[in-house]
């Protein structure tokens, strides 16, 4: 696999393993923006790289699975229905938002578009999960998006 893909996945596996509640997930989101906006980081290089299609597909699949596993853990037990808590579709939107937001942020040379993309992808999940049992109740800045 492309070295930058492998480095990002290794880093994400460590970072996401430590995420157990919405506050941690919110913190992960902000750290991710910083990594992507550092031009020489493995994140920036991996997102810019065309790569071999098979390697890119494996990279995206593995990142998606890490995210989905994390979202299940953050959601915890108990009923949670609705689009915001569909962990697989939310994980897919997060992967898309990171890539699409990164392209827009490279154009504007500003983290704003990447942050806005991740906000739309993750905000509803954090607001919903933040209301669930076993949560710390912290939705970070996300709960203020529409207020």
């Amino acid at each position: 696999m492309h070295a930058d893909f492998a480095e990002v996945l290794a880093h994400e596996a460590r970072s996401l393993a430590a995420v157990t509640d919405v506050g941690h997930l919110d913190g992960w989101r902000h750290r991710l923006v910083a990594h992507v906006m550092a031009p020489q980081s493995a994140y920036a290089k991996a997102l810019r790289s065309d790569g071999e299609p098979a390697a890119r597909a494996a990279f995206l699949d593995q990142w998606h699975d890490l995210l989905a596993t994390t979202l299940v853990r953050v959601l915890g037990p108990g009923p949670a229905a609705g689009p915001a808590t569909d962990v697989h579709r939310t994980a897919l939107l997060i992967v898309a938002a990171v890539h699409g937001g990164a392209v827009l942020s490279r154009l504007t040379q500003d983290a704003g578009p990447l942050s806005a993309s991740l906000e739309l992808a993750l905000g509803p999940f954090l607001r919903t999960a933040g209301r669930g049992p076993g949560s710390t109740g912290s939705g970070g800045a996300l709960g203020t998006m529409a207020s």
Binding site: L60, P83, H99, G100, G112, S117, L118
Partner: protein
């Protein structure tokens, strides 16, 4: 409409303008399919049927040609999006816009991505003039989406305090990322899911 600075470099005869347009159209097609990096000026000469001296008469080099491609692609995309979004004032209308983009991309199994987004990926780090032109084009496209969201606010379908510019940027991120997922998978299903989720999240603001 913004320009990468190549729209009217000098007064051209009708024949000269036609030749220039043929070169740019051929270059745009090649760069869309192969990417900017994999398209040579020799490829463009062969595809457009002009001579190399004619190409150099109109363009000093590849950067100048790429900037003209940015202008042409931007004009096409913004015109298409203005037609598609200009009168949308409901979530159902936004979903029809989504369906149209996904269906059009399905014709090619998602193989080539968004024409404007692909150019952004290819040139953003290499040519500041092209980057700024693309930044303006995306701002214009996001402005069209923000206008739709404002019309939704006007009808009460979105709360008056919803951050429409931020939501429009987020929706564009989901769209561009969706194109990339489709390109990688050679399947538009993940693109459809990405935009569906983004639209569902925007729609959910009305229930807050």
């Amino acid at each position: 409409m913004t320009s990468a600075g190549t729209a009217s470099p000098r007064r051209l005869t009708a024949r000269g303008a036609k030749t220039r347009a043929r070169i740019v159209a051929a270059a745009a097609d090649l760069m869309y399919v192969r990417g900017v990096g994999m398209t040579t000026l020799d490829d463009v000469v062969a595809a457009s049927g002009v001579s190399k001296s004619q190409l150099y008469h109109h363009f000093a080099g590849k950067d100048a040609l790429v900037r003209a491609v940015v202008d042409l692609t931007g004009e096409r995309v913004i015109e298409r999006e203005r037609d598609a979004l200009g009168r949308v004032s409901t979530m159902a209308g936004l979903r029809r816009w989504r369906d149209s983009l996904v269906q059009n991309n399905a014709l090619r199994h998602g193989a080539y991505g968004c024409a404007l987004g692909s150019l952004a990926s290819d040139v953003a780090d290499h040519d500041d003039v092209a980057r700024r032109a693309l930044e303006q084009l995306f701002a214009e496209w996001q402005g069209l989406l923000a206008d739709v969201l404002r019309r939704l606010q006007g009808t009460g379908a979105l709360p008056a305090d919803a951050p429409v510019d931020q939501l429009a940027t987020g929706l564009m991120g989901a769209l561009q990322g969706g194109y990339m997922l489709a390109q990688t998978a050679r399947d538009v299903a993940p693109m459809g899911t990405s935009i569906d989720m983004a639209l569902a999240h925007i729609d959910s603001l009305s229930a807050r």
